[in-house]
Subunit: 211 residues, 2 copies
DNA sequence: TGGCTGCCCAAACAAGTGCTTGGTAGGCTA
DNA sequence: TAGCCTACCAAGCACTTGTTTGGGCAGCCA
């Protein structure tokens, strides 16, 4: 629906439309969808607000295109891992790494999703947000359960709860992660995996202290 | 500043002011501050929007009172733990439990803080939100470092990063936790502590498989 | 040369926004 | 009874919001 059907030299200068979308995405990410006006977007693009409607039907259709495009790409990667023959733990790690890469490569899109998806999902138009969420939940919980069966993960895990913890912790990193900062997405992913897999407590050193 | 200086029977029916604040808090939490109109609040209270201004200066002063009141109470509890003589790990656990209790007892306030603090903190009036954040960061990182020194926590922790992970994971739970649901805040806190302390990986079972 | 297309401006519109104003009804107290 | 206080209404104001309309201009292709 939002696809371009005409073959075009994709590596030429980004079309004006895509430029505008990128500008809008950044603003939506910073201030939130509802809190960003079409005049804000137009100002940032150096045009008047009405001119935006030459390129887009509405403000809503802008986020729509931003989010749906991003989600399609992300889920393609997820599905690739899910249907691979990696063992549960490797799958788990791969999915985490993909997620942090997404936070790096599509910072604005992830931020918008984190901040506004809840509000947007109320409208029919954005029903796919909920659909994808359910799909993702299934994928995650499945992976966790598989890992529990295989002995990779602790047998006493409440997979549903663990799923929520992990999902939220990963995505919420978009609030402080800066693509241009010192820490790379890989660094963060490795540290996160280390923590979530092995915990922060020192190993083999029960509660008693006194050396 | 927002205190009532007149002595009053505190357990009588909540003052109309507090009633209205509770209504506003719920709406702010559900739809976001910017996305909740004074007419929404007034409707929910069964009065006209203008009548709200008999009780409050502005819409802003409503969130202000909601957030500052909540934060004061929360930080009082945090400080109590910080200045106690508990060992690092016990302090850590106490702070986590306090946080989940807050999510249970002050669900709306936490949600507002999670969703709108970033936007609100841009205004001078809400500068205290940032101040408190820094204060909280100091408390947490200090606790983590103390725990690393004492041998309670892993020696290779990036305390700054771990602090962010934990902070976010805890508070973001407000998105799915329901005070009236099956899981109690205590349940969630214990499971969370178990995961974050010991990890989700099975113990003493390195990467090699083959039984 | 003429028409087409992509991109934009200028101006406005209706709906919605936070907030103000002047007034009123009822209860409490001196 | 008079005066005051709390809680509210009715109406509106100034401003912001997303969106529409009609037109202009540059480049390109025939």
């Amino acid at each position: 629906m939002t696809q371009h059907s005409t073959a075009q030299p994709t590596n030429k200068v980004a079309s004006r439309r895509e430029e505008l979308l990128a500008i809008a995405a950044e603003l939506f990410a910073q201030r939130g969808f509802k809190n960003t006006t079409v005049r804000d977007i137009a100002d940032a693009a150096g045009i008047l607000s009405g001119s935006l409607y030459h390129h887009f039907d509405s403000k809503e259709s802008m986020v729509d295109e931003i989010l749906s495009t991003f989600q399609s790409e992300l889920f393609r990667k997820y599905d690739e891992v899910a249907s691979s023959d990696l063992d549960p733990r490797a799958k788990f790690e791969a999915v985490i790494r993909i997620s942090f890469e997404a936070i790096h490569d599509h910072h604005s899109e992830v931020a918008i999703y984190q901040n506004d998806a809840g509000y947007l999902a109320e409208f029919d138009r954005f029903g796919y947000l909920n659909d994808r969420n359910l799909q993702l939940r299934k994928l995650w919980v499945g992976m966790l359960e598989e890992g529990v069966r295989s002995g990779d993960f602790r047998p006493d895990l409440d997979t549903e709860l663990v799923y929520r913890f992990i999902r939220d912790t990963v995505w919420v990193a978009v609030r402080w992660y800066r693509p241009s900062g010192d820490l790379s997405a890989q660094d963060v992913a490795e540290q996160y995996l280390s923590i979530i897999l092995d915990g922060i407590a020192a190993r083999r050193r029960p509660v008693k202290k006194n050396p």
